[in-house]
Structure formats: C-alpha cells, structure tokens
C-alpha cells in the first residue's frame, strides 16, 4: 500500500468529564488503528451507540483524543492548526446543517473563512451535487433534508478536502433519497480523487466501500 492519506495510530477517546468530576471516565474508544488509502472508501459499521460518530468527530478533531496520533498525508496532525487540518479532513454530520441565509451565503461562508481558496463556479458546484443552480438564492433552511445534505457536500467541496468523514449521511433521508445521495457521494469521491470514511448501520451501503471497519466494544476490527 502506498503512503496512506490518513493513518490512525492507537487512538483512545473518552467523553469529556465536567470539571467537578474527580474520577476519569472510562474510554469509549481504545486502541483504534487503521489506514485510509488514496481514493479509498472505508466503511465503518457498528451497532447504535458503538462510537461511530464519536470516532468521526475525533478524526475531525472536534473532540480531543486522550492519546494516539493521526497522520494526514504523512504529517502529524499536531503540526497543523485545527483549522488547516479540518480543511483537509472534512466531516459531514448525520443531520445536515444549513447555515442561516441563502444557499449562496452557505457557499460564501467558506470563502470568507479561507480567502486563499481558488474561486469556483457556484452554479457548477451545485450541478456537481445534483442541485439546481436556481436554488442559489433560496433560503437554505427551507430546503429538504436531502437537499441540505447535498448542500453540506457542496460546502465541503469548496474546501477541496482530501478526506470526507461521512457520518451516516443518509440516515435522515428516505430510501430513494438515501440511494441518490450515496451514489452522488461516491461519484464525487471518484471524480475528485477523495478518500472517505463512511459510517453506516445499513449493511447494503457497504457495497460502495473498498474495506470495512467494524466497531464493537470500543475498538475496531478490519475486513476486506
């Protein structure tokens, strides 16, 4: 295997404790190690409450692991600022969030954050995620869940990331929509050469994954 895009070594995650709590809570994830290759889609399965979302949030560095290291394209994540790292490793949450304002405002928000990003054609970007360019002026919060998930993908793509962390991206959608969004995600990953970790509880969705990690009892096992 060539150099992985993401290498995770002995990650241990515990839920944060309140300042007044004296005992350290037990880790909910421990000894998590795996590699994510270039253009690879890694399935992540596990029962409800097994820690899939927690693992993805830790990989997006929205929660701090207690120990372990993560390397992005060979570089220790501690050598980057969280902002630099999150530009490359982007999390799409289970319930898509539309930021206040129009669809265009949602895309502009990312440009305002990172002024060095190359300009993109917003209409083309919407077409890439199967949204009509006519939606640009529409209030994002009034969109359907499926549209919001596509908008969240478009917003992430503005960053030109290397890795997408997909936290059950179809769980809030009906079957037909879920299928469309899943196919779209895989198409976008293939076209843009992105790697992805797809957390899901639907076994059928794993057909799009090259490998699968199973999360149980707080740790992962790997299957081809």
């Amino acid at each position: 295997m060539s150099e992985p895009v993401l290498a995770v070594e002995s990650l241990e995650v515990q839920l944060p404790s309140r300042g007044t709590q004296r005992t350290t809570p037990a880790p909910i994830l421990r000894n998590i190690s795996f590699r994510l290759g270039d253009c690879e889609v890694l399935g992540l399965v596990g029962a409800s409450g097994s820690g899939k979302s927690t693992l993805l949030r830790a990989l997006a560095r929205l929660i701090e692991p207690r120990s372990g290291r993560v390397f992005l394209e060979g570089r220790d994540w501690n050598e980057s600022t969280p902002q630099e790292y999150r530009r490359k490793v982007c999390l799409l949450s289970q319930v898509p969030v539309a930021l206040p304002g129009s669809v265009e405002d949602n895309l502009r928000f990312v440009f305002r954050l990172h002024r060095d990003l190359p300009r993109v054609d917003a209409e083309q970007l919407l077409r890439d995620v199967n949204l009509s360019p006519q939606l640009l002026g529409q209030a994002a919060e009034s969109m359907s869940e499926g549209e919001k998930q596509r908008l969240a993908l478009a917003r992430a793509l503005v960053l030109n990331p290397r890795v997408l962390l997909l936290d059950e991206p179809t769980s809030a959608l009906d079957d037909a929509n879920a299928q469309q969004v899943l196919e779209l995600l895989m198409k976008v990953c293939a076209r843009r050469g992105l790697s992805a970790i797809l957390a899901t509880h639907v076994a059928e969705h794993l057909r799009v994954a090259h490998r699968t990690l199973t999360l149980s009892n707080g740790t992962v096992t790997e299957h081809e």
Partner: protein, 262 residues
C-alpha cells in the same frame, strides 16, 4: 437642602407597622413566608444601618485608598454573586467579573468625578460611591444575563457551531452570531429602562436627590448622567464578559467544550 426631613428612630419604629401588615397577610393567607419576612426585616435594618455607619465614616475621611477599598469589596461581592447565579458554575467567573467590573468602574468613575461632576477632590466618596455602586450593580446583572445566554445559545445551536468548526472556522467565526445575541440580551434591561425612565417609575437617584431637597430639574440632570453611564457600563461589561466567556468555552484546539455548557 434645607427641606430635608430627618427621621427619628421612633418614626422608623412606626414604619415597622408596614412590615407587621406584611407578616399578618402572610399568616392569614398561610403563605408560609412570615418567618422570612421577619428575618428579611431584621436583615434590612442591620445591613442598611451598618452600611450607613461605614459610609458615614468613609465619606468623612475623604481618603482615596479607603474609597478604592470600598469599591474593591463591592466588586468582589458582585463577582461572587455572578458566580453563584451562573447556570453552570465555574470558579473562573469570579476573576472574570472582578477584572471586568473593576475596569468598567475605573473607565466610568474617573470622568464622572473629574469632568462631569467636577468634584474636589475628584473621588469625593459621597458622590463616587453611589455612582460606582450603580455601575457595579447594573453591569453585574447585564454581564450575568449575557454569560448565561451565551452558554444556553451555544448548547442549543451546537450543530451550527460545530458545522462551522468542521469547515475550518475558528471559535470566534463559529460562534459570532451567538456572541452578538448574548451581548444584545445583556443590554435589553438597560435599554428598556432608558425607554421608560421617568414614565413608569421615578428612578432611585432622582427620588433620592429630590428627597434631599434638590429641585426636580437638577435631579433630572443627575438621572440623565446615571442612565448614560449605565448604558456604557452594560455595553462594555456584556461585550467583555461574553468575549472572555466564549474563549473559555472552546479548547485551544478550537473544540467546543460541551461539558462546560451545562
């Protein structure tokens, strides 16, 4: 000043009859607060009397150090109060409020004494202590409202904030709307007070100055100064407290500290 009426202890005793009525109402309606009214009555008597003697001494001394000491105690009590009233108590609230209230107090009291009232000396305790007390009380309430609202908003709108963080936003960019909203919330009582002052109630300093025999128009000038002063105090305090609070609600790696949001 010549119209000022001195109340004798005997007359204060008559006023205790009002309190007796409140106690009787409580007993008659079985409200269960008669004991608390009695305790409250004694505390009111003792606390205000002690305040009167202390301030009498401080006013007579005209000493800057003593005036600063009185302010320091008032700010400390206000800071501890802000901590006890916090939705999710954090000890760091005490130094945060102590710093903020002290800063706001200095910024306001100095021009009040030096420029607006042109006191001699500028820290004349019988003027700057009541003014400072109003600043501290109002700023404390505004700051408490703002900090509690910020925690509530960040908890309620966590998904939006974390979505922005995941897109590479720093904490300020992620939570700016919530910061603005909490500052605005902290200012609401002060703005409302400015809108209705003199219409719905006769405010404290106006009433006090009039009771001391000052013509109402002169009393109005005092109250105008106070209202403008309180607007500035509330604005500065809500902004500083919310801003500093926001910093404590994120880790240095730009992660929202969910465990601190209550």
């Amino acid at each position: 000043m010549s119209e000022f009426v001195v109340i004798s202890w005997e007359q204060v005793g008559y006023a205790a009859g009002f309190l007796a009525v409140a106690i009787l109402v409580s007993l008659f309606l079985k409200l269960g607060v008669a004991g608390r009214i009695i305790v409250g009555g004694f505390r009111t008597f003792a606390q205000l009397l002690i305040l009167g003697y202390i301030l009498g001494y401080v006013f007579a001394q005209r000493n800057l150090g003593l005036t600063v000491l009185v302010f320091a105690l008032m700010v400390l009590v206000a800071s501890v109060n802000a901590y006890t009233m916090e939705s999710r108590r954090r000890l760091s609230t005490i130094p945060l409020f102590f710093f903020t209230l002290s800063l706001v107090l200095i910024i306001i009291v100095f021009p009040i004494g030096k420029l607006i009232l042109a006191l001699k000396p500028w820290f004349l305790p019988q003027y700057v202590i009541p003014f400072g007390g109003m600043v501290i009380g109002n700023a404390m309430t505004a700051g408490m409202l703002a900090q509690n609202h910020l925690s509530r908003l960040l908890k309620a709108e966590r998904a939006v904030v974390e979505t922005k963080l995941a897109l590479g936003a720093d904490p300020l960019a992620s939570a700016y709307p919530q910061l603005v909203e909490s500052v605005r919330t902290g200012l609401v009582p002060t703005i409302n007070m400015m809108m209705v002052v003199g219409l719905v109630h006769i405010p404290g300093i106006f009433g006090g100055v009039v009771l001391a025999g000052v013509p109402p128009v002169e009393a109005a000038k005092y109250q105008i100064v106070v209202m403008y002063m309180l607007a500035m105090a509330a604005s500065l305090t809500t902004f500083i407290v919310s801003w500093m609070k926001l910093r404590t609600l994120f880790t240095r790696r730009a992660q929202l500290r969910l465990e601190e949001l209550g």
